[in-house]
Symmetry: C2
Subunit: 187 residues, 2 copies
């Protein structure tokens, strides 16, 4: 309830609305109302909807990857266990109320053909995620190709969970990942 930094309040409102309903389906007035702002102050912080969308994606990317990294590192297991913990984290995410798939994939489908900034944000997000998995895989002694395979499994699990509204895709992907890790030499 306490007053926060206006930018944070706006981004919080924008994230909930944009992610939950789609970017084009949410008008600036809805963001204004949800953030308890006046129109003037809203445009003072984000001079256009496009810049607000960009900031939303940028902040979400950082939060998402940080949350994943914290969860995985706290498992404290071997690198191999950490790789599998990624899929556990995905499963928790899928089960969150309001889960609606990957915000970057969604915004790409909506605005990718029209907004280069959205395309760049999505590519950056996915590239960073792939890089993170590649780092874990290297620590686990798995070949780089395996990291790519696990990335595809994670991506597929996100899409599948979003489409079917079923979080078990994470467990399925985890099992496939385990098989792939077993199928390739641990260095």
């Amino acid at each position: 309830m306490e007053q926060q930094d206006p930018r944070t309040r706006i981004l919080d409102a924008a994230e909930e609305l944009f992610y939950g309903q789609g970017i084009q389906a949410v008008g600036m007035d809805a963001v204004r109302a949800a953030s308890g702002m006046t129109m003037r102050r809203l445009y003072q912080h984000f001079p256009s909807k496009g810049e607000l969308v960009e900031a939303y994606l940028l902040r979400r990317d950082g939060r998402w990857r940080a949350s994943l990294a914290v969860y995985v590192s706290r498992t404290g297991g071997s690198p191999r266990e950490q790789l599998l913990a990624v899929f556990d984290w995905l499963g928790r995410w899928f089960a969150e109320p309001g889960f609606r798939g990957c915000a970057f994939v969604n915004s790409l489908g909506e605005l990718g053909a029209v907004s280069p900034a959205v395309v760049a944000a999505a590519r950056h997000h996915k590239a960073e995620f792939g890089g993170y998995l590649a780092g874990l895989a290297e620590a686990a002694g798995a070949p780089p190709a395996t990291a790519v395979h696990l990335t595809l499994l994670a991506e597929g699990a996100i899409t599948s969970a979003a489409v079917h509204g079923d979080p078990t895709a994470a467990a399925d992907a985890r099992e496939a990942a385990r098989l792939l890790l077993d199928a390739t030499p641990a260095r």
Copy 2:
């Protein structure tokens, strides 16, 4: 150039525009112009944009799966080879000009929160695709879980190819699928 069935002409125009630019980004007037119709005739065949979108998704689902099934069955290989041929077909699709990911995932991100018909179309499409892979897997003597794993790989490849604009995701997924098929007993 020859005159086609009006419904087909409208759906052709709608598919190209909706898939290429996103549904919300395309106005009915653009569909009218691209199909060489008058407004009256357009609304005569599809009384609302929602019904046009539904028809677009429905027809695309049928075409997409038929094209895949034809390609796979024409390989004439063993069931196992047919399973891998699915990923070859994906690779060809990814390399097509104008490829922009899965139309159903895209429309789901755009309209899923607001249109139950779009959600149903996406679920149906993905369920049918998963069922198709399950059938091939069973013929190949692979356990049902393997079919699920391959489905996740295919899904991930589609997303990855769309985000990075890189068709090689299909080959990566194919390699992972091969490893998974080798890792599980062929009955």
